[in-house]
Structures are given as C-alpha cells and as structure tokens.
Symmetry: C2
Subunit: 315 residues, 2 copies
Amino acid sequence: MDLGEFALIDCIRNQYKVPEGFLGIGDDCAVIPQCDGLETLLTTDMLMEGVHFLIDDVDPYSLGWKSAAVNISDIAGMGGIPVASFLSFALPKKLSDTFLKEFLRGYKDLSDRFDCPLLGGDTTSSLDRLCISVSVLGNCPSGLSRKRSAAQEGDIICVSGCLGDSAAGLQVILKGLERGELESELVRRHYRPVPRVGEGIALSKLPGVHAMMDISDGIGSDLRHILDESHKAAEVDTASLPLSDELKEACQKYCWDPVKLALNGGEDYELLFTVSPEAYSEGLPVLSYPIGRVVSGDGIRWIGRNENFMGFRHF
Amino acid sequence: MDLGEFALIDCIRNQYKVPEGFLGIGDDCAVIPQCDGLETLLTTDMLMEGVHFLIDDVDPYSLGWKSAAVNISDIAGMGGIPVASFLSFALPKKLSDTFLKEFLRGYKDLSDRFDCPLLGGDTTSSLDRLCISVSVLGNCPSGLSRKRSAAQEGDIICVSGCLGDSAAGLQVILKGLERGELESELVRRHYRPVPRVGEGIALSKLPGVHAMMDISDGIGSDLRHILDESHKAAEVDTASLPLSDELKEACQKYCWDPVKLALNGGEDYELLFTVSPEAYSEGLPVLSYPIGRVVSGDGIRWIGRNENFMGFRHF
C-alpha cells in the first residue's frame, strides 16, 4: 500500500456527500442531528495485536480499560456525554478465558465510571491475532459540540493536563526496562488513561472555547488537524509544555527528550483546545495549561526548538 | 479459549444494566430512545481475513459491498432506516492501493443504494491480515422496531426470499469448483447480498408482524435466537423452504443437500419474521414464504427430516 493514512482518509471523505446539519469524517466523532435540540455523536476505534499492544506484555484488564477509554475520550473531545458502547472482537484460539474475563472487567470498570453501558457488538474468531473494535455513541445539546474547525486567530492553545507520560510508559514497555516505582507509574499512565469527559462538557458550555479535540497521536499531529480544519497556523512554546515530575525524572534517568515525548508520543487523552484571550482571562472551569497561540498562515512554529514534530503516524 | 460464542455474549450481557427504554445485547441492533418519537438503532460487525473471506479469492469490490450490506441488513432486520455508516480497517502492508480502492467502490455502491453515507471510522495498520469493522446507525419511529423477543404462539414463520444460495456460492469458492454460469451466479449471491431494507420497513408497519431479524447464520441458528428470546418453540416444514432454481440445479450437479445449505449455511440476508395467522391471511406487502409455525415448548422440530440443524457457528 502506497497511500498514506491521511491520503486514504481524504480519498474516502471526498466520495461522500455529508447531509445538511451532519458532521462526517475529519473530527473526533461524527455528528448526527436529532430532534429537540440534541445531537448524536459517534466514534469508533480499532486496536490490533502487534500494532497497538503486545499480547505477551499487556495486562488484559488494562487493555479492556483502554479500549473503552480511547473511544469515550473522543466523545469528551467534542464536549459530549457518552451514552452507550459497542465492542467487537476477533478472538484467536490461543486466547485464554482468563484473559478475556480480565479484559471485560477492565472495560466495564472504565465504562461504569462514565455510566456508559455496553449495548452491543460482535464476536468472531481470528486465525492468529486479537483484534478489537469499539464504537461509542454519545450525545450533546445541539450547537455545543466542539469541532476541530473552529479555531480563531489569536486564540490561546491549551491542554488539560501533562503530556508525554503515556509515551514514556510505552518506552518502558518497548525497551523492556526494569520496572521500579517510576517506570510502573508511567506504564500505568500508558495503559489506564482517564478520558476528560467532565472537562469536555464544562468547556463546551463556554462560547469562548472554539476548537477542541482529544490528544491521541500527540500535539505534533493533533494540533495540525485543528489548524488544517480551521485554515490557521500556530506558535507553540516548547518550554511551556506541562510535564509531570515523573516524566522529568525518567527523562533524566534515561536521557530521553521530554519535548519529543510530549509532542510526538501521543495517547495522552488530554483535551487540546483553543480559547479566546478574553474567555481565558476570565478563568476556565477546568485545569488548563496554555502552550501557544493560533496565528494566521500555515504550519506550526515550535518556539525554542529548531526541528519539526509530527506526532505518531499509524502507517 | 473454552467459552463458546453465545456463552461469551451471555456473560457480557449479564454484566450490564440496560437503561429503561433501551435495548441492549441480543438483537440485530441496539435501540437507543431519542426524543420526539424516534429511536436510534446501532449495529456493528467485524470481518476477518481468513475467517470471513480469503484475500486471494475475494474480489475487493464485492468485499466492500458485502461489508456494508451485512450491517445495513441488521438495520433492515429491525425494520429501521439506515442513516450513516462507519468503517474501520486494519491494513496489512501487502494490500495494494487497487484492492483498497475497489473495496471502497463496492462499499460506496451498496451504501448509495440505501442513501447511507460513510461518516466516520478508523484506519490503522495490521501486521499481517486485513481486518474490517463496520457500524451502521439507523433510526425507526418509536415502538416500530421489531425485536427477536416478540414471537407469539400460533404465529406463522416466514422468510422474505430463497435460502441457501449464498451457502452454495461459498461451497463453490471453498472447493475451488470450476465456475460456469451457474457457479458464478451462486458466488455472486454469496458476495453481493442486497439487504431487505424496504421490506423491513413495510413489515414494521403491520401490527401483526411480531418478531423479525435478518438471516446471517442460517435459520438453524437464527430462528433459535427468536425462539430463545420469545420463550417459544417452532415446527419448520423442511419441504416448504424456498429454494432457487440455481440452488436446485447445483445440488443435483454436486450431490449437495439443499436443506442443509438452506438451514445451516447462513449469509442469506433475507428477513426471518413471525406473523399472526390473521395478518398473514390478509396478505403481506412483501414477498414472503411461510416455512413453519411458532408453538409452545422448547427447540425446533424439523418436519420431514430426522436430524437437527444448528446454523453456522463462529467458534
């Protein structure tokens, strides 16, 4: 296959006419208008053994947790309320009943936190690898869902929490590092993200909050989506990226570059949003770290670094 | 894995409380009440290389067609109107751009027939095999969606079209039979089902039509779902199963058992429904073949055959 991921998505997107009032491909969720001032949101994600997780390393409880979390996070990224989830899996013979039960326990624990019951799905067999697909349906009062396309020049770019911990946890896993308290905590943050549902809903009520999405592929990629859809550019101050003490400690210990982890790593599942300076100065109802500003033009200028950051690419 | 498919589904189903007015696991679609007399339907299906299709045999256009069709058929099985679809795939490196484009062309041609645009999904990479997951969202006036659980004693069991052609087409593929006109036609029926959307909507408007679903795993399995959910039994007259001329011809040529293909084969994507004798005698608005009757008790009595038929099992 020569088509890149985003070229493929564009190719599909251009083929379908999106009905009036709907939002199609190109955001965290599709938006389907309903009657009476409500919109339905729908998002779906696929997790593949060998690509998204290593079956011999992953703790099945965490995998179940994360499978639900990443989708609920897409609902959060639009400011929506999760309503129900749908879980499909293709199960290889090698998979034990214990693995499956632990997976389902983790999935349920995360879903229960957000009162989002599992209402359907599909089970089938797989020749060799475990494959998981989750869809989550949510809703949102009409007009309140936050799109990627709404960033305005002059907006302050904010994130809702620390970046890079999940990417550092992945490094611990991939490099097979010995897991002390620090390493285990980073691995936990990689496997057990908590979607920012309440934060997304609170932000969606503020007219000054313009574009919003969740951070799944790293700011280097995700911010670019907001800018592309909004036809804007950005300046990001790499010195202002919120980094946890754990990330700083691990970066010192292993000589990792925290900025790279924060911008390219992804899977933080924090919210990335842009807000007018006026709304920002009045104070936001959720924890927010300003990291830059929306400007006119093209691309991202990374203040403090002489290189480019592109986020995580799937292929 | 020792858990069977249905034991696994039951295990999941028992863990989640279904909110009032919702319908969860155990039917063709989940049902989510919306305001103003509408319900949202959601269904999802996974298709795995090596399990549901052989990548070296399948025509990518047909695979795309069928991926959309089997999900839209679940909406049809409840009497719903398809609104939008969501396509996720995990793509192995070996897959050519041509394969992908033909797949998308087939997916779109089927979707366009039912005015059901693709509004989202996920693309990721796969280490080796192609994996496809499709979700379709539909809607239905409140109270009109037809459940599996509504069969009543005395109901006539009907199907909307011929059974077994798809299963015979699969035999042609699996046995590598030389493809004359007859064999090619059966293969086409296997790969290019047309969901019975209009028929499902028409039937959902008749109060005398009680239980309904689409036929994906064969009557031997699917009728059992209706009976289990309705706490009823059935008598099926195996001599009354509607069989196409092509199926009869192929069965003579290859010494196949048409009843087995019709009952165990699956993937017909016709509608299976139960209807009161009164409504039946008044005439149904769609092509229907009566094949048996709902009775009290347990299980299915196959009149004319001294054996049991269980339909297709995924694992």
